[in-house]
């Protein structure tokens, strides 16, 4: 195992911080586009964790998983932005609170 100059704990702590910031963004912001960007932040935090473990454990499977996460994120963005476009086309300026027609 090759031990890098920077401990894996630092990378994982940064990743935890990034994940938490993304979670705060999803909960605080009401603009659906910005909420989406916060979800991207959380996905990137997870990717950073995977790559860190791939280096520490000498296992390339972590990098392969990151590749799959990238693909799923791209598909998610395409469908999510399609939904946002179709909602915002009907009511411009809608926030996440306005799209509550499906609530129980």
């Amino acid at each position: 195992m090759i031990v890098g100059a920077v401990s894996a704990h630092l990378y994982l702590s940064l990743s935890a911080l990034l994940f938490g910031l993304g979670a705060i963004g999803v909960m605080v912001r009401r603009n659906p586009l910005v909420m989406f960007m916060s979800i991207e932040l959380m996905l990137n935090a997870v990717n950073l964790t995977f790559v860190t473990f791939a280096r520490e454990l000498d296992d390339l499977a972590g990098q392969v998983v990151v590749l799959f996460v990238l693909v799923v994120a791209a598909a998610e963005v395409v469908v999510g932005l399609g939904i946002i476009v179709s909602v915002l086309r009907q009511r411009p300026g809608a926030t996440a609170d306005d799209a509550s027609l499906l609530r129980g």
Partner: protein, 195 residues
């Protein structure tokens, strides 16, 4: 020593970009802050010897996904500022920030107090500089089923996006046009003022 410096700079850029996404009122500025974070993560990928993923990160995330975000922002004209001072639910924002801080503290605590363990790798990472070939070999041997599912997922996403974005011709209702009265319609529902 070099890695420590790179890590410090990239960490500052990443955190600053993430905070920028959170606090920027203008969605365009938030998207640009997101680009900073994504580039910082790509730099850390290089520091973690994942050169291929760093390139993919820049191309796919910063190149495609953020541009898609900007396209939607410009297309819809939703680049007006969000009013961050109005609280939709009383106490929701402090509660959300408190939950987020607890989450960060909990995750960091777990990370810092535990030691790294793990099973030996099933496929040892041979650091010969040809990691792209190794990743490709893994993709088409061990993870070939996941790869096929991924292609299906992309197909479904494309079809879904086209379906969502399509406007059905002929079914749009012209609101200025008076509704024709059909035999059997209750007469009292018809607005008499329509000329």
């Amino acid at each position: 020593m070099v890695e420590s410096f790179v890590f410090a700079v990239a960490a500052v850029v990443i955190v600053a970009g993430a905070v920028g996404v959170l606090v920027n009122r203008n969605p365009v500025h938030a998207a640009l802050s997101l680009v900073a974070t994504l580039f910082g993560v790509a730099v850390l990928f290089v520091a973690l010897e994942a050169n291929f993923l760093a390139a993919v990160q820049v191309i796919v995330y910063a190149g495609a996904i953020v541009v898609l975000f900007l396209f939607v922002i410009m297309l819809l004209g939703v680049d007006q500022s969000e009013d961050l001072d109005v609280e939709p639910l009383i106490g929701q924002r402090p509660a959300a920030i408190a939950i987020g801080v607890v989450l960060i503290i909990g995750l960091t605590g777990v990370v810092l107090t535990s030691s790294l363990t793990g099973a030996p790798a099933a496929h040892e990472w041979v650091r010969d500089g040809a990691e792209v070939a190794q990743i490709g070999r893994l993709l088409f041997t061990d993870y070939v089923f996941a790869l096929e599912i991924t292609s299906l997922l992309l197909l479904v996403a494309v079809v879904g996006a086209v379906t969502l974005a399509r406007t059905i011709r002929g079914e749009t209702v012209d609101l200025d046009e008076p509704v024709p009265v059909l035999p059997g319609d209750p007469v009292d529902l018809i607005d008499e003022d329509v000329e």
